[in-house]
């Protein structure tokens, strides 16, 4: 599963870790995050993320 990076604040979503504080379990692919999931650091939506290199 691919990591995704926030183009606004550089937060990296790592599917292996998930987003426990945001209620996302480890092992959740970025594509499977809820549509209203937001960057845990800066709060922007999924559309501001792109695959990490």
């Amino acid at each position: 599963m691919k990591k995704y990076v926030c183009t606004i604040c550089n937060y990296v979503y790592d599917p292996a870790v998930g987003d426990p504080e945001g209620g996302v379990a480890a092992g959740t692919a970025f594509e499977d995050l809820p549509v209203d999931w937001v960057c845990p650091d800066c709060g922007v939506g999924k559309s501001e993320f792109e695959p990490a290199e």
Binding site: T7, G43, V44
Partner: protein, 405 residues
């Protein structure tokens, strides 16, 4: 003391009650040559509302202006659109003095304010698109996350066609005039551009989305009231159009050459490159970093097409003022520039490659190998510099042609 501060009426029911910071010249690393204002607004609705406050040591000015209109104790609602301390520095004390029935913030604003001041602050959150009822009037609230903080939000007073836009559409400009039509347009343009270039540029993709969203809502906005600088009441659409254009980050026929120099060599190279650019039809702006502030360089770049950075090598590093600029520009993430580096050195050329590394990290397209010179440029070296300027001009022209197709 407080009798000397007066509010300024903006509409039938809205007053400016902010503060003027005439002599601030360094705003967290942004040079504010013309000072600034911290705008706060009082809405005389059934539920009297204060929109934002001011920087902490301007409390007397804020309270005085409010008191010139009403007893501050009558404030029922405080809206905090943005948690940064130039707008919230007074907030804890205003809450203490006024004891409002509610302090309304975005969800991210609640977190930010509690991280700034006090875990127990009595805050009420409003959802994106939510409405705040003021009795006879109401405010529509819109989150504008990362424009330019996570907590940022704007409020629209439908009955007056008035958008409280927080930092968006603002500028650092101290003046005794409160409205755009009382000030010279070139100065408004210059300072609004500087604000965009230094505060909003890295979030241009979000600016475009928010402008689209506000456009779709179809408001007939008569006034835009930002938290810094004048209130837009005469054709407020013009600043919206400026933002739409700046957010596009389109290259132009202009190159900014930012450099520093120790014994004049890099300076000489900069001037030769500039002449090459002129010969290729490109306007230039040479900025010696010993005298030009990083935030002024960023402003010049907003409507440019190329950035060339000149640095000597000092103790196997790029020159410190150049490092300052490069770190600053890396954060601002300009997307529209061709770029290059050049400079002189004594025995080891280390500065120019360091600049190039940062330019590449910024994903800017690099124009060939910029000229480097040992100690002092000779006529042949200056010819190479001139030719490099010509080459940058050629590539910029090609890019502009592609963009126009």
């Amino acid at each position: 003391m407080k009798e000397c501060f007066k509010a300024v009426q903006m509409t039938d029911r809205v007053y400016w009650v902010g503060a003027i910071d005439w002599n601030i010249r360094d705003f967290h690393g942004y040079s504010t040559h013309r000072g600034t204002t911290y705008n706060a607004f009082l809405i005389l609705a059934d539920r009297v509302t204060l929109v934002d406050t001011v920087k902490r040591h301007f409390l007397d000015e804020l309270m005085g202006r409010i008191a010139s209109v009403i007893d501050p104790g009558r404030i029922d609602t405080i809206i905090s659109n943005h948690s940064e301390m130039d707008h919230t520095g007074c907030l804890p004390e205003v809450i203490r003095r006024v004891n409002p029935s509610r302090v309304i913030v975005s969800a991210m604003g609640a977190k930010a304010l509690r991280d700034h001041f006090d875990e127990t602050m009595p805050l009420e959150t409003v959802a994106d698109g939510g409405r705040v009822d003021l009795g006879n009037l109401s405010l529509l609230m819109f989150e504008t996350r990362m424009l330019h903080w996570p907590d940022s939000m704007v409020a629209y007073l439908e009955e007056e066609g008035l958008l409280f836009s927080q930092d968006a559409f603002g500028m650092h400009l101290a003046s005794s005039q409160r409205f755009d039509d009382e000030l010279d347009e070139p100065i408004l343009y210059q300072e609004a551009a500087k604000y965009y270039a230094n505060i909003l540029l890295p979030y241009s993709q979000l600016v475009q989305k928010q402008l689209d969203r506000l456009g779709r809502l179809g408001f007939s906005t008569r006034l835009i009231a930002p938290d810094h600088g004048p209130v837009w009441r005469t054709n407020p659409g013009r600043v919206v159009q400026w933002y739409a254009r700046w957010a596009e980050q389109k290259p132009t026929r202009k190159a900014v050459i930012a450099f520093d120099t120790m014994w004049g060599s890099t300076d000489l190279m900069a001037r030769a490159i500039s002449d090459g650019l002129h010969a290729g039809g490109i306007a230039t702006k040479l900025m010696h970093l010993g005298g030009c502030h990083r935030s002024d360089v960023a402003t010049e770049l907003l409507e440019a097409g190329a950035l060339l950075v000149g640095t000597p090598t000092l103790n196997v590093n790029m020159f410190p003022t150049v490092a300052d600029l490069m770190v600053y520009l890396r954060g601002l993430k300009p997307k529209h520039l061709l770029a290059g580096a050049f400079g002189s050195y004594g025995w080891a050329c280390r500065g120019v490659p360091q600049v190039l590394d940062i330019l590449k990290e910024m994903n800017l397209e690099i124009v060939g190998e910029g000229p480097t010179v040992v100690y002092v440029p000779k006529p042949g070296d200056l010819a190479r510099c001139f030719d490099y300027g010509l080459e940058v001009a050629r590539q910029l022209e090609a890019r502009l042609t592609r963009a126009a197709e």
